[in-house]
Amino acid sequence: MIYIHTALSVEASPIIEGFKLKKDMDTKEFQVFGNEDVILIVSGVGKVKCAMGIAYLFGKYGVCEKDILLNVGYCGSSNLDVPLGTLKLANKVVDMDTGREYFPDLFVTGYEQECISCFSNVITNRKENTEGVFVDMESAGVMEASYKFLYPHQTVIVKIVSDYMDDERKDVLFLKSLIDKNLSNIEDIIKQSRDIVCMAQGLNMAEEDAILDRIRANMRFTKGMMDLLRPRVRKAKIKGYDTVSILCGFLDSKSSSKVERKRVFDELLKKLK
């Protein structure tokens, strides 16, 4: 699943339109939109709301090693030479309240990579002490949630320069256009992230685990037995055995007595040897 987090509706709406996402009417706590591949949440501004929103998403929809978390949002720049609408990826995030540094494992290429300084309030002073020249209000919250639930290569922080840390109010259409113009880049970042996540996948034991769980229930194998069995199945798979077929051969077995349970267990171990 591709999880996209934005703080504001104005950041979300070009993505919702571009990816043809539908509103999840069952969710009241946050605005959530999605299709079969993508789920987007609008969390509200600030790192706390952002971390809460992401934790909510993961709690509701589940999260695994194949998922990707993208934070798409505006950032301010103290460097007037950086054109508005420029897309940056964070290779480091500093929480300016705590000084804590976060590091996504960024393997996406083709985009400029920067440190993002994350503040709790709007910064309108370009002389503010920041690390680097880019500031936002969510990236530290994204990283806090990411460190809890994900591998650091599963998170990408995408920032689009929307202002020069001044008080000037921007027109909503203009703000939307900044995201709109970067939609194809966002799509590319998602594609690259998918490839990266696939590369990181180890031996897939999901099918074996599911069958093992059924065998366990039927046979009433103890925890100790399962602790012995699982690594044996993995070893057998590494050796090239057709572990799914071997396990399927035991799906019909039922435990009628302790003796029978032990007999089936030993037979299974023998087949995996």
Binding site: E112, Q113, A200
Partner: protein, 329 residues
């Protein structure tokens, strides 16, 4: 700021640099060499290196460097699972942590959360400790890494050679699988410097030692080092008791004159149980499907297999190398 156009596998693409590391010569050299890399300033290397749940395999594919200043301990006492080659005490120094090579049996597989390569830049602090070591001890300099293989990234030998030379009463071992013969020509052999080459059958190299040079290239490197007058140790370590080695030993000693070798290290695959279990979880290598057993917290081959294989192997090795030069673990 950096814009990485092409993330080619195996090329360093990002360097994390500790704030304190910027002032060191090694850092300046590395940053100059990798001027098109993404440079990320960090407070403490552990903030990057010790993150939980990192993908060891992904980081192996796309290695990132971390330049840091080592604090506190510079020399560690060697593990009983390592050979001391007759020295009264055995120590190791970790100038680097992790390795550009990817040997699936390597204890690094289960040692750290990350496979990013940490390079400590304060070499002088390590070197100061050399002179404090007791006379007759041995320090392994290429312990959690392969120092020579990384020479093109960080030329540590350039920085430590003079210190090794000055610490005559301590033996220094640099263990490698590298076939880089060029760098040795720059240095004079030293009585207290031993170059230890790990040789393994080509079949094992192909199966378990990703990105390492082939056997014949390593043999060539051994002969080159011998020709230059270096003391050379050959390490047949790890041995896999379920594989054939007879032809391999014959081949090695057809190409290398056993009489010129300083000594031989010989040891079977072994790994502390904890690390083995961690590696088992993340690796899909056949190494972790072998019929090993656990004894006293160490996972290795069953004693019977080891005894039988050792006998067969020693019959060959002892034909070429004096028995007293062979150290078996």
């Amino acid at each position: 700021m950096s814009c990485l156009k092409n993330l080619s596998s195996r090329a360093v693409h990002r360097i994390y640099v500790e704030e304190d590391a910027f002032g060191y010569d090694i850092t300046r050299k590395v940053l100059k060499k990798y001027s098109d890399c993404d440079i990320v300033k960090i407070n403490n290397y552990k903030d990057v290196f010790n993150r939980t749940r990192q993908s060891f395999s992904l980081q192996k594919k796309f290695p990132q460097l971390i330049l840091a200043v080592k604090k506190d301990t510079f020399i560690y006492e060697g593990s009983p699972m390592c050979q001391n080659f007759g020295h009264q005490s055995y120590y190791y120094a970790t100038f680097m942590v992790n390795c550009i090579f990817d040997c699936q049996y390597c204890f690094l597989q289960g040692m750290y959360n990350s496979s990013n390569i940490v390079c400590f830049v304060n070499v002088e602090d390590f070197a100061k400790e050399f002179s404090r070591m007791e006379c007759g001890s041995m320090i392994a300099l290429s312990y959690e890494t392969d120092l020579i293989a990384h020479h093109n990234i960080v030329p540590y030998l350039e920085y430590i050679y003079e210190y090794i030379k000055a610490t005559e009463n301590v033996a220094f071992e640099i263990r490698t699988k590298s076939a880089n013969t060029l760098i040795l020509s720059k240095y004079m052999p030293l009585d207290n410097l031993i170059l230890a080459y790990t040789l393994t059958p080509q079949k094992i190299i192909d199966s378990y030692e990703r990105f390492t040079p082939n056997l014949d290239a390593r043999i060539k490197a051994v002969n080159h080092a011998l020709d230059l007058g270096f003391k050379v140790r050959i390490c047949f370590d790890p041995i896999f008791a379920d594989e054939d080695y007879e032809e391999f030993f014959q081949h090695v000693f057809e190409k290398i004159d056993g009489k010129r070798i300083n000594d031989i290290g010989y040891g079977f695959f072994r790994m502390p149980k904890e690390q083995y279990l961690k590696a088992f979880k993340i690796s899909d290598s056949i190494v972790y499907a072998k019929d090993c057993v656990e004894e006293d917290g160490v996972v290795t081959f069953p004693e019977k297999m080891i005894t039988e294989a050792t006998k067969i192997h020693m019959d060959i090795i002892e034909y070429f190398v004096d028995k007293e030069k062979i150290y078996i673990l």
